[in-house]
């Protein structure tokens, strides 16, 4: 088990977190990228500036990951959130879950994202397209 969380200021590079060889009881790996869309609340944007209470965000992510692993019997889980300015088309969030069976991984993933969006202290500041 190599659980980790990371809050980064630089682009999320999936390769950096690649699983060299998954545990031999792994049957499913589910990955999620949350990507910044070209519009926010109907207005064209160039990106989103994410503000975080970083220490608390890391701590809360860690709590949510421990709960996900316990509730769904996961083999491994990783969550990376990018903060600062993230341009349209780039991922702000990357999550990977490894489990024996796919149902557990999908259930854990959707629950985890729902909770992250309620409890992890990170906020969006959309940057309009016409602003320098």
């Amino acid at each position: 088990m190599s659980t980790q969380i990371e809050i980064v200021l630089t682009p999320i590079n999936r390769e950096q977190y690649a699983v060299k060889s998954p545990p031999h009881n792994a049957g499913a790996i589910v990955e999620f990228f949350g990507v910044v869309r070209e519009d926010e609340a109907g207005s064209a944007i160039q990106g989103i500036d994410y503000e975080a209470f970083r220490d608390m965000a890391e701590h809360q992510l860690q709590l949510l990951i421990q709960k996900a692993i316990g509730d769904h019997d996961l083999l491994d889980m990783l969550c990376v959130h990018r903060i600062g300015f993230v341009p349209v088309g780039a991922p702000s969030l990357y999550i990977r879950i490894t489990s024996s069976h796919r149902a557990e991984a999908f259930a854990a993933m959707t629950e985890f994202i729902d909770k992250l969006k309620k409890l992890v202290p990170i906020w969006k500041h959309p940057i309009p397209k016409d602003q320098e």
Binding site: M56, L116, P121, W123
Partner: protein, 81 residues
């Protein structure tokens, strides 16, 4: 006793500052401390029901008894992901 309140995102905009000190009787609950905060900074009241509050790195309930030096975080609705 003194506790401090830290503001983020919309709560910082409304408070006009990123931190504020509160002078409270010892044994004060978060609930009472917030009453004083909303009295001092009425603009924050709009976030009253939608916000969560933490002491240190953990969310706490309104009946939590505060201690001198506690750092309360005023967490307006989060938008991560």
């Amino acid at each position: 006793m003194k506790v401090s309140v830290r503001f983020y995102a919309m709560s910082r905009d409304l408070a006009g500052a990123s931190e504020r000190e509160l002078e409270l009787p010892s044994g004060t609950t978060l609930s009472i401390a917030l009453e004083q905060l909303f009295q001092d900074v009425p603009a924050l009241k709009v976030l009253r029901t939608s916000s969560l509050f933490a002491v240190g790195l953990d969310y706490v309930s309104h009946d939590t008894v505060l201690e001198a030096g506690n750092v309360i975080s005023f967490i307006p609705p989060v938008q991560g992901g």
